[in-house]
Amino acid sequence: MTDPVSQGPEEIPPALVEERSGWSVVWLIPIVAVVVGGWLAYRAIMEKGPEITIVFESAAGLEAGKTKVKYKDVEVGEVTDVRFNEDLSKVLVTAELQPSMRDHLREGTRFWVVTARLAAGQVSGLSTLLSGAYIAMDPTGTGRPQRSFVGLNKPPVITGRTPGTRYRLEAESLGSIEAGSPVYYRKIRVGQVESYELREDGSGIVFGIFIRAPYDRLVHENTRFWNASGIEVSLNAEGFRLRTESLVSMLIGGIAFDTPENLERSGPAKPGTLFRLYSSREETTRPEYQRKERYLIYFTDSVRGLKVGAPVLIRGIEVGKVVDVKFEFDVDTLDFRVPVLIEIEPDRVQLTGSGDKGPGRAFDEELVAGGLRAQLSTGNLLTGQLLIELEMHPEVPPGKLRVEHGYKVIPSIPGEIDRFKQGLLGVLQKIQRLPLDQIAENLNATLAGTNRIANSPELLQALEHLNATLAETQTVANDLSTKTLPRLEAVLQEAHRTLNDLGGLVRSDSPLYQELMVMVKELSASARSIRMMSSYLEQHPEALLKGKRP
């Protein structure tokens, strides 16, 4: 084997050698790669927005990597993780937001899941039917920066930074109000119910309401809120009434407010002030009285038509209301009684008089002793509603204020209707007691006797005699007219003359009359002095002996 190299080194020409400078351009590639990669990494780090955790009750429709976080329908982030908390009771949703949202993640920022829903008469979130649920964000927060939030179960009614004020209302029950129900002021929609929750002790409901900005200054400290839901139909002792705020509130409930004219205007209410939610407009116009006194009334007549809340009147002015109506059976006397508990608001009555008969007087005792009695009376003839009237009845025997079941008992007298009924009954009984049969028999007998007399021959004879007598009388009368009368006339004329003379004597300007008048005055003066003397003597009989003392 021949070695080609050793065979002909001359035949192999050497390669030309050129000097080469620097380093390879290929190193630009990794440099560019590093620069691009570094820029990507930098952008990723810079773009990596704040990561937040939201606690939801359920994660309906939330998917990691797909569900977006939106504010005003603009995407501001994305859900990166959905998992449970330790006891599996809540869902922890981790979301990454855009860096621009960093400053808006503060205490008070709210998050809720937007899905299609029908609430408060509004359809919302229809777009989510196609695109899937998303988490809405409401950066209202101005508090401390925060990264972990509790998601709302329902979309908030007022979003964004709507200017306005929040207040609270307390009510006994929810009624037909729900979150989103409108709040009206003189039938203008000025706000909405944001939330409601049961009090911790379950004693009532506390609503959160929001009044938009120009209107919130209408809320004063003494503003009254009332439930304007649906159609308000009231049928009570005062009659029949129908009222509604608006068609919307008829369907989804609503709240209205106003500041009563009869109350003094007070300053604007502070945000978060707790108001009472009255059940109707009517109730708000009723002045509030703090002092309430309870009395018990026992009725023996029917209380059909007497309802709790029925008014208690004194001379037609409402001073209280019925609080409770019960029914009692006394096993000892086998008697039914109806105790009615009433509540009197004494402050409804303005006190007059000097009141110097001593403080702390028990007016009720004095009044009952003076004849104050309670009676049922018909408030509405149409519906038969009853009310209680307290009136003074001086004719009844004086009563005393007892205390039973811890309440003072106002005695009662039968009501008007009852008394009317009893009176009617008495008349009927008297009519019933009349011996009608006997009267009829007697009458019959009398009539028979009369008949017999009328047909008797004695009567005929008597009539004939009467005829004869009349004829006699006729002749006598004739004599009288022809002979006696002219003489009588002369006598009368004589008498007339005499009387005329007498009249002249007793005329007011006649001297005799004047004298008579003087004499009469004298007589009356002397009579007065005799009376005075006699009365003086009555008091001081000793004057007869000792004379009148100066």
Binding site: V5, A15, P30, V36
Partner: protein, 210 residues
């Protein structure tokens, strides 16, 4: 070891253009050799093979990170945007039971590029350290790398086809994500790196030792 000398060891090299056998100096670090006959550049080994391989490998490694992390497709279905990375697509296919497709995508997009990168790194490191460990197997590895490189663009093809096919306006559309560019870069860079690597360097170490 007579008869196993490389051309370079004997101070010889062939011109790539005119195939003229040339005598070359032993150390040609900072100079360019030219063929006296045709004037073409002559290099007994690929010039700066190792450093070029390293540079391209490094660039490929750097680009591999965004290729995996960034979304490769943006699918908009009914206004709902969904971004998928390569791995999330693979996971999706495996989870939805389409594991053959998932496997293909995984092999083409993850397994092969990573394998190529690792093999090239191994080769480069072994050459750098003048290792004499299994030169034959290492050469075989290099061949595998070159061969497999043809298939590593499957992903990019799939995405390109999908983008072209699914254009249903508002209903559904697919867009190429930024990862596609980086992934393609990784593939191209690994091909270039494999190309830049001179397998003869594996054997040079053995000769030097001998």
């Amino acid at each position: 070891m007579t008869g196993t000398h490389s051309a370079l060891r004997l101070g010889l090299a062939g011109c790539h253009s005119c195939q003229l056998l040339l005598r070359v100096p032993a150390r040609v670090r900072s100079s360019t050799l030219r063929c006296p006959r045709c004037g073409a550049v002559v290099h007994p080994r690929k010039p700066r093979s190792l450093s070029r391989t390293w540079a391209l490998l490094l660039a490929a490694y750097v680009f591999y990170v965004p290729a995996m992390v960034l979304p490769i497709t943006r699918i908009t279905t009914l206004g709902r945007l969904q971004e998928d990375t390569i791995m999330s697509g693979v996971v999706y296919f495996f989870q939805s039971g389409e594991w053959p497709i998932g496997l293909v995508i995984f092999v083409a997009s993850v397994f092969v590029p990573v394998l190529k990168l690792l093999i090239l790194s191994l080769l480069a490191v072994s050459v750098q350290w003048r290792s004499q460990w299994r030169p034959r197997d290492r050469t075989r590895l290099y061949r595998i790398t070159e061969m497999v490189g043809h298939w590593s663009m499957v992903d990019v093809y799939v995405v390109t086809l999908l983008v072209a096919l699914v254009k249903a306006g508002a209903l559904a559309s697919i867009e190429v994500g930024p990862a596609a560019f980086y992934f393609a870069s990784v593939v191209v860079l690994t091909i270039l790196a494999a190309n830049a690597f001179d397998p003869r360097l594996i054997w040079d170490a053995l000769e030097e030792a001998a």
